[in-house]
């Protein structure tokens, strides 16, 4: 349940930025979460709602954009989607690939009023 800590960071960062903008409240927050980042979207939403209470984010909505995990094979240079950290290259079955994406954990933007 480290989603709680992540949710707290989202609220903290969004609130700081909202104050700088002189916002009355935050309507939505968009975050990017890689599918291999080890974060459960449902748990994150649940914690987010709890963390928003009594902040400028009260009643706001969390948009989670899931980022697929991709890798490039070191042997045949094919790019492929990773379902897990240890997938082999589908083209040549090589076990060595460089991961390109999938572990993002980033607050991207927000809508304020």
């Amino acid at each position: 349940m480290h989603e709680l800590g992540i949710a707290q960071s989202i609220v903290e960062i969004a609130e700081k930025n909202a104050r700088q903008q002189g916002a009355k409240r935050v309507l939505t927050v968009t975050v990017e979460v890689g599918v291999l980042a080890g974060v459960l979207p449902e748990a994150l939403e649940f914690c987010f709602d709890a963390c928003c209470r009594e902040t400028l984010l009260e009643g706001s909505r969390l948009r989670i954009q899931q980022i697929p995990a991709r890798a490039r094979c070191r042997d045949c240079h094919q790019e492929y989607e990773l379902k897990s950290f240890f997938d082999n290259c589908p083209a040549c079955d090589s076990t060595v690939g460089d991961q390109l994406s999938g572990e993002e954990l980033r607050i991207k933007e927000m809508e304020i009023d």
Binding site: G5, T28, G38, I64, Q66, F86, R106, I107, M110
Partner: protein
């Protein structure tokens, strides 16, 4: 499938098409940036003292505290240890460490399922780092969350006991990928179990090709010597690197 968040179906708390009148502000900030910043601060502090730091991670009960007790008992004349104990509740583990006579401090994380760099930064304020060679941090028993949180350690050490099954590296890849060392503990129990040691090692190497794997038993003492040797080498290396 909901394209905004990848959730499986219609769900009352999603209103993706609801019109919004707000102004959009781009932020682009990493959510672990704060922890990473604090961890970098801890690392500078530890490096300044030439202090070697390990972060012990495992599922509950795989033997982290027992490994510490045994290691401290056998090496405390040779190396100056300090221990930070992370647990959700109780000071049981810290009391066990205190009984060895080594300085320790307990961090209760409450609802938190992992230690973070902030807690560790304050935790070490209770310890005399200047007189210490090696700091052992026992993380909260949990194979998932501690993987994402850098504490400022030199290495993460995963402990996996043979009663947990050999497939754990595949089931919890983040943790084994983040760890430089894997201690396979409780090997005294192997005769009673169907634990495939070779498979376990193969799985761990599949996730993390360079991982150093040591097989140990705190009960029989088997395999502890290479672990101790590695600790002594690393302490010497760290001191040399910092000109201490």
């Amino acid at each position: 499938m909901c394209i905004d968040c990848g959730c499986a179906g219609p769900d009352p708390h999603h209103h993706h098409d609801e019109p919004q009148l707000g102004k959009t502000v781009r932020i682009e900030e990493d959510l672990l940036a704060k922890n990473d910043r604090l961890a970098a601060g801890n690392r500078r502090l530890f490096d300044g003292h030439g202090l070697f730091v390990l972060n012990l991670v495992s599922s509950p009960g795989s033997g982290k505290t027992t490994i510490l007790e045994k290691t401290l008992g056998d090496l405390k004349k040779k190396l100056a240890f300090a221990v930070l104990e992370g647990d959700q509740q109780t000071s049981n583990d810290a009391d066990r460490i205190a009984a060895t006579g080594v300085p320790s401090h307990q961090i209760n994380t409450g609802a938190g399922c992992h230690l973070d760099a902030h807690m560790v930064g304050h935790g070490v304020e209770h310890l005399d780092l200047a007189g210490t060679d090696i700091l052992m941090i026992e993380n909260v028993g949990n194979l998932v969350c501690p993987a994402s949180f850098d504490l400022g350690e030199d290495f993460k050490v995963s402990v996996l006991s043979v009663t947990e099954g050999e497939d754990k590296p595949l089931k919890y890849p983040q943790m084994f990928r983040a760890s430089d060392v894997l201690l396979i503990n409780k090997i005294d129990l192997l005769p009673h179990l169907r634990f495939d040691l070779e498979k376990c090692k193969e799985y761990a190497r599949r996730i993390h090709p360079g991982i150093r794997i040591l097989e140990i038993s705190c009960y029989s003492g088997e395999g502890l010597e290479p672990w101790y040797q590695w600790l002594c080498e690393q302490v010497a290396r760290k001191k040399a690197a910092q000109g201490k």
